[in-house]
Symmetry: C2
Subunit: 593 residues, 2 copies
């Protein structure tokens, strides 16, 4: 059973992701290290003792649609109410609405642990937090006063309604329409699909944020507006009023995250209310809805990245426990009685260490991204711009690398379990089934790669990415300067991989500069992975260099060396794919016609 | 919906895997090319029109245990009977028992297509064929006369009972016991798990082959005997007699292949018959059971490899069809109206071409392995030994590379489908769920790597593998000599990767020679993948060089180039892991304690 790795998480925050800098910058306000540790520890306890034990039942029972209402798995409603009573829902929300305004670094760490316990459960609150953020930034005073406090406390949950059958990655073509009522409110009509936690029995009201198009809106993404559409209208005294004209038509039957209801939502077909049309309130300005969504898109992408880290951690723990217990065959050098635990077989040990390295690398990348978000909030002027760029640069890498790691590590976990891994009751298969959505939603990893290459590399004419590569090189040099034999070839391997990253970056920037976009995009996914691998190597090295005095230094150095001497060798092939792969792709493209 | 790629399969058999050589060696007897084509075509038709349409229902309904009997999915029993009426069950079986003694090359090609249609369905007959082979090679005349004809016709199916809860990869510790009855028969007692198609409603009788231990047997693998244990005893006139003392206790709830019942079988607990103990008949000699199993193990491993090829092919077809139909966004250079089909996006095109290359590479490796099996059967003396070694060398690579490709390609297929890929009704997720068992059963891919490195590389003191590498080099040189610009850098890339393979091979042989087994095993999995990638490159090149005159030459050359310039770059990292990875693994091993 999953046990939250609170110490490892705290170490990564403090010694790898830059928590000390953030504290100096005032990100943590008056929050001392003791309180940070206490929060992490309690979040970990909740994940370990309360969420994780209900993960399996959620997978088995799933959420079900019965007579138009969604019944969540046994015990989940109570779990949610225990969770909001712990104050977790408002962790980063504004104090004025009852939140705690804690730094994003703490939030992602806590999210990781809850998602390890049950990704399907933790997903619901994640969407509410996104809705809170959009509303806080763009909502009118009326909307904030009416909805925010109850969303921050968790009394009401939120949902995000973007996708339509023909409009997934490309929201510009969405058709849901909004009509002005003349009194400042709107009527919404349309169908939304893949709406996560769009309907459920956790809370009495559900606050939907819905993208729709006004009759006179320009075509494409510039004609999309954002509306708040509550399941129940709210009276002036804050009590619940009439049922709004919207409902959950059906639930998807999915590969994983069965506990999380994925809804088709119908707005304005006259099922409820006297007049057709779901009543909605504009968030932000008309036709500026996509901008409102974008303000929270980055954090949502990082949140999905945390799901990848979370599954990777849980799957690794499970596989290691099994490999130490299960005996089979005699490993070379095994001197014990009878069969050896399978962890003694070199192939199994290599798999487990790879799982550990990918998990910790992903974690460090994601936390570093949260650090940049926090620093941007706490800074001004040039510094704010720098950190804003850094978080923008890191977001697609964190999202894609961590979610790919989630899938890969979960699959390796099944393999370590042998035949038992294929049996559902073992629980290893669930991790793969759950993990598989994360590289897809909140922008597929292919779209992250397009974003990374075409929008993030050019930030400050490439100075942001080049500066970052310089920082990574400093880490490699610090390893070299440490003269510690236990690092093996880490410094040299890291240097080589950083050079690969630099060469690929230069090539891409040149291609973009020349307008060779298709060529640049041909290698975008390879580049994204290359970047993630180099960051994994660099952050593990940073961890190895940190003298945390916790008795785990040797293990960190050994894992860093393992990653450098085994995983980083891949960067040459990835760089090669970026720099030379476009021609062969273009030449072979006709095969698919 | 899957459509059997009969032309592609025939091309690979003829122009890549060496069907012409085999024909010259007499492997095909009087079978002309027309008849070969007709057989492939009809196998493909059956897979496309009859098996594939029932794949989804099998997954959804699964096989269920009701009152001790297994009910297979709707339509499957009829499907099976149509299939055996087509004579497919006896394809490679001896003529004297009603089989057709066709070459293995044809068999694997047909198996691929049926498995693409439904892996869960095709798995049952695969096990029967294994049982037929074991019985034909090692069974007494009495056993053959009593059981073989009906197993060859398909009137009765077979099953293989090896695994016990504590004895999976390591059969030496199995506990199922056999007692001599004094009349030449035995009584069997014990529990077997993970017994594929151990109970079902396809046939009136099921012929179980069961590994068990005699009371006076030596410990370990040298004390295991093989028994034939029929579900119903057979009277002298061939009619069914009493129910034997064995039953299916439960079915596993699995990630995939839901239609295939995975049974826990109980032998000899007194549920049936007057006296406790399931009646069994010795196959081969006492205590030589494992040797009997090994004779068919190689073919079973290749059969599992075919499942990997099969899923990869089906997943690729599905993803390409979706990518051509689904429109979203505007790809760079897209000049059409509105959104472009997603296949126009470079990242999607790259993914699809990678899927194609891995599928066709896996197919070629597996067919080449079947070719070697056929050549060994048709040859004598030194030639027979050579081909026997070649098939032994290729088997672990075919099994592991193709089954890894099955999982990877199925996962890529989900990704191409975006959110729809996560919805079960789409069907892309089923391929991943089904594919995930193949790297595990019939010897995990980690065990295949141990087998490859410790048993196959040393064949003929390394001359077998070195000779093979020499043949691959000839292909690279032929590409260079062709002077066709369309090959791009194929020749150079292939040369480099072959050099990687050679260096890794030399290193491993030296390590084994020095008794550094643990070091050799540390890189075994990386070596196995390295070998598979080089073979993929070489076989695609062989296909590209073949002037088949079918109008697909250009496509083959382009795919070969794509693979060479994109996938082969990985071989350097894999070689590196073999040659230098052991130290860092040893240094990091303590982390897992």
């Amino acid at each position: 059973m999953y046990k939250a790795p609170v110490d490892e998480i705290a170490f990564t925050l403090k010694h790898v992701a830059g928590m000390a800098d953030a504290a100096n910058a005032g990100v943590f306000g008056e929050l001392g290290e003791d309180l940070v540790d206490a929060i992490l520890s309690e979040a970990g306890r909740f994940a370990t003792d309360e969420v994780a034990p209900l993960g399996e039942v959620g997978d088995r029972q799933g959420s079900r649609l019965i007579d138009g209402a969604v019944k969540t798995p046994e015990g989940w409603r109570d779990l949610y109410h225990n969770w909001i009573q712990g104050g977790w829902n408002g962790l980063t929300a504004p104090e004025v609405f009852g939140g705690q305004e804690l730094p994003h670094m703490l939030h992602v760490a806590a999210m990781e642990m809850w998602n390890s316990g049950s990704m399907a459960f933790a997903l619901g609150p994640t969407l509410t937090m996104g809705a809170i953020e959009a509303l806080d930034r763009h909502g009118s005073d009326f909307l904030k006063a009416t909805f925010l406090s109850k969303m921050v406390s968790g009394e009401w949950m939120g949902s995000m309604n973007l996708t339509e059958p023909h409009a997934g990655s490309d929201l510009g073509v969405l058709k849901t329409r909004a009509e002005r009522c003349g009194d400042g409110s709107y009527r919404i009509f349309g169908q939304k699909i893949f709406i996560t936690w769009g309907e459920h029995d956790f809370t009495d009201n559900i606050i939907h944020l819905v993208l729709a198009r006004l009759p006179d809106a320009p075509a494409g993404t510039k004609g999309i507006s954002l509306f708040l559409v509550p399941k129940f209208l709210v009276n002036e005294d804050g009590s619940l009023g009439a049922r709004n004209d919207l409902f959950c038509h059906s639930l998807e039957h999915k590969l994983g995250i069965h506990g999380s209801p994925t809804c088709t939502m119908i707005y304005g077909d006259g099922k409820f209310g006297d007049e057709k049309g779901a009543i909605g309130y504009l968030v932000g300005e008309e036709n500026r809805g996509l901008a409102c969504m974008f303000t929270m898109m980055n954090n949502a992408r990082l949140a999905v990245g945390m799901q990848g880290v979370a599954i990777a951690e849980a799957a690794t723990q499970k596989a290691i426990a099994y490999a130490k217990e299960r005996t089979q065959g005699r490993a070379p050098g095994w001197s014990g009685q009878g069969m050896s635990p399978i962890v003694e077989h070199p192939d199994v040990a290599r798999t487990l260490l790879t799982m550990k390295a990918l998990t910790q690398g992903s974690r460090a990348i994601a936390y570093a991204c949260a650090h940049a978000v926090d620093m941007a909030h706490a800074s001004e002027g040039e510094a704010a711009r720098h950190w804003q760029e850094r978080s923008s640069l890191l977001t697609p890498i964190a999202k894609s690398f961590a979610t790919d790691a989630g899938v890969d590590v979960a699959s390796m976990g099944i393999q370590v379990h042998g035949g038992m891994g294929f049996i559902e009751e073992t629980g290893a298969a669930r991790y793969l089934r759950d993990a598989r959505i994360a590289p897809i939603y909140e922008g597929t990893n292919g779209i992250q790669a397009i974003d990374l290459v075409t929008r993030k590399l050019p930030l400050s004419e490439g100075r942001q990415v080049r500066g970052f590569i310089g920082e990574l090189r400093d880490v490699a040099q610090a390893v070299a300067a440490s003269n510690r034999q236990e690092f093996g070839e880490t410094a040299a391997r890291l240097e080589t991989s950083i050079a690969d990253l630099e060469e690929a970056t230069d090539w891409l920037l040149a291609a973009l500069g020349d307008g060779r976009t298709a060529e640049a995009l041909a290698g975008a996914t390879a580049y994204q992975r290359l970047f993630g691998l180099v960051l994994t190597g660099a952050y593990l090295a940073k961890g190895g260099l940190a003298g945390a005095g916790d008795g785990k230094e040797e293990a960190r150095v050994a894992l860093c060396r393992f990653a450098a001497e085994n995983l980083l060798a891949e960067t040459a092939a990835l760089k090669d794919r970026v720099v030379t792969g476009a021609d062969s792709l273009a030449a072979a493209r006709f095969i698919l016609d």
